[in-house]
């Protein structure tokens, strides 16, 4: 392929195929560093605290949460939507960017997809806990039972069950199928022993045969074609949880596209937050370059601006509709008792990402890191604002109420961070964080200097 001289290479430094293998394998070889152990320990402590908080919730009941009759959804659902949203970046990168033949995705798709899976695991926990009786959670699936009843297929909450479980399964399969060749590469680098046997088992007997590659390519392309509408459907259905209700502030047709772009927006922010640290820690600066950061920042500003327009459209429609309840709901969001949450959301989602219009800022790792954290916070507050501020002023002023989370709810949220990072630390230790085979396949056209082996 012709590479124009102004376009910078995707992979910097002098690279041969062998060097790529070595660079990506080296963080997995040898003993893990002190930082890794420290990080993993911290994550496991957080996870334990989360499990304890879940135990308290199940043992003592939902009364341990700050919810009340008026505000039935609080941190639990906020966190659910937030985590699902974060997952969307991984699928966007691996599926939609694959369909658009974006070569820069090869350096980041593996870790972003891993994040998708871990984030969806965290997300899935919240509805399960929210239903109260964890051991009976399987009731949500339609299965022949002695009560002779079926689930309610008219309910968006049930659509969610199907959407999230399909999304989780398909992402997991897509991710693992992509990993097989690279696990094969790792297997062949190891000295004979128990570790090699485990990787041989996990590599599914991969040989690199041309027939297998041809099938693998064909499968990946169609899976990407399936995953692309799937990822859009997931957050669409999540938004239906709200949009199909009659609560002012929830009952809007703008929700599906607005939620989907918000999800991709927050997902990319999380990918940036993690990758900026990971590339440094694992010495992968040659593979995840400033160009990758800049490309992701461009997606952030695009989706962020869509979200910003959605906020303003909502305000306009509330006024233009002439419905007093709608008008009140949005006036109350911005200037009611939860005004601070609304303005945190506005600042972090609409104002700070606009700094990415400047090329210097797009390419600055420090500023990108800070803004990405702002986006993470802003998108969490978006869900909080939608859920809590819409609920706390009921149609009946006598039911008006306020909401504050208890330590149990905070504990579960902290616990999901624990789960996410425990998985992430194990992932970067035991699996290649960059798709080795995919990087090699674009190496000739995209490396700064491709070194041919003599």
């Amino acid at each position: 392929m012709y590479v124009s001289p102004v376009r910078e290479p995707l992979i910097s430094g002098e690279k041969s195929y062998e060097k790529v293998t070595r660079d990506i394998y080296s963080p997995m070889a040898g003993q893990p560093g002190k930082l890794w152990y420290a990080g993993l320990t911290l994550a496991i402590i957080a996870l334990m605290f989360g499990l304890f908080s879940i135990f308290v919730t199940v043992w003592d009941g939902i009364g341990t949460w700050g919810l009340n009759r008026t505000i039935g959804w609080g941190w639990g659902i906020t966190n659910f939507v937030w985590w699902v949203g974060i997952g969307h970046a991984g699928t966007f990168i691996s599926a939609i960017l694959l369909l658009f033949r974006q070569k820069w995705r090869t350096s980041i798709n593996r870790s972003a997809e891993a994040m998708t899976i871990f984030a969806v695991m965290c997300a899935g926990l919240f509805p399960l806990i929210h239903m109260g009786r964890l051991p009976l959670a399987f009731f949500i699936f339609p299965y022949p039972n002695t009560r002779d009843v079926w689930v309610n297929f008219n309910s968006p909450l049930l659509w969610d069950v199907f959407a999230i479980s399909t999304y989780f399964l398909v992402s997991l399969l897509f991710w693992y199928m992509g990993l097989i060749p690279d696990i094969g590469t790792i297997r062949d680098r190891l000295v004979p022993g128990i570790k090699k046997k485990i990787y041989a088992f996990l590599s599914f007997g991969w040989t690199g045969s041309a027939r297998h590659w041809a099938r693998h390519e064909s499968m990946s392309l169609i899976l990407a074609g399936l995953a692309a509408p799937l990822v859009l459907s997931v957050h669409t259905i999540v938004s239906f949880d709200f949009a199909t209700s009659v609560i002012p502030g929830w009952h809007t047709t703008i929700f599906p596209p607005y939620f989907v772009s918000g999800a991709i927006f927050s997902g990319f922010a999380m990918v940036l937050t993690l990758m900026i640290i990971t590339r440094k820690a694992l010495h992968l600066e040659d593979y995840i370059t400033k160009n990758h950061v800049e490309s992701m920042n461009k997606i952030i500003i695009t989706t962020g601006s869509i979200v910003g327009i959605a906020y303003i459209t909502e305000l306009f429609m509330a006024w233009y509709s002439g419905v007093i309840y709608e008008k009140f709901a949005f006036w109350n969001r911005a200037f009611g008792p939860y005004w601070w949450a609304y303005w945190i959301m506005m600042t972090c989602n609409v104002i700070t990402p606009q700094l990415f219009w400047f090329k210097k800022i797009r390419r600055s790792l420090t500023i990108t890191f800070i803004i990405s954290i702002f986006v993470n916070i802003g998108m969490w507050f978006e869900r909080f604002v939608i859920i809590v501020t819409s609920l706390h002023r009921d149609f009946l002023p006598s039911s008006w109420s306020m909401y504050k989370p208890t330590w149990v709810e905070v504990g579960i949220y902290v616990g999901t961070f624990g789960l996410f990072f425990t998985m992430f630390f194990l992932f970067i230790r035991f699996f290649p964080v960059i798709a080795i085979a995919e990087v090699k396949s674009v190496l000739k056209s995209s490396a700064e200097k491709f070194v041919k082996k003599k």
């Binding site: 002779d148 959407a163 690199g208 041309a210 399936l226």
Partner: protein, 173 residues
Amino acid sequence: MKQKTYVSGYFNDDKDLIVAIKKLQEKEVVIADVRTPFPVHGLDTVLKLRRSRLPKAGFVAGSIGLIAGFGFQAWVFTEGWPLNFGGKPFMSIPSFIPVTFEVTVLFAALALVFGFLLGSGLGPGAPTEIFDEEVSNDRFQILLTANATKKESSQQLLKEVGALGVKIHEPKS
């Protein structure tokens, strides 16, 4: 698994590999397998590999998912457990769409993945013969089957087209 005797040779570059395969094909040599560290562009056409049937399998499974998903919901709401929601129709097609879509995608994806694994003989702990561990690193390998009489000539053939490290792999007994 029946093991055969193979003769292997490798190349350091995908372009050299393609050139060598074409040369071998001109001599009407049957190539048992080609192994590469990454999918080499155009290799499937050079080797005249049969087009994968996975897309069809995915389509068929997706169609089954579509019919099963929609049909099941329709049955539940008209026959199995009809629920009256404020007098709305039992058979409400729009609200069946999301679940139908998800089931379609799920069926198609499962068929693709399992079709790929079964078709390629891959799976957890599947037995495998790796003749050169550097293939998953940076070597592009050609494998020829060889019986006792053809061993020498196959070696010669591979050397002629520029293969490096030509080797005979006897079956492990």
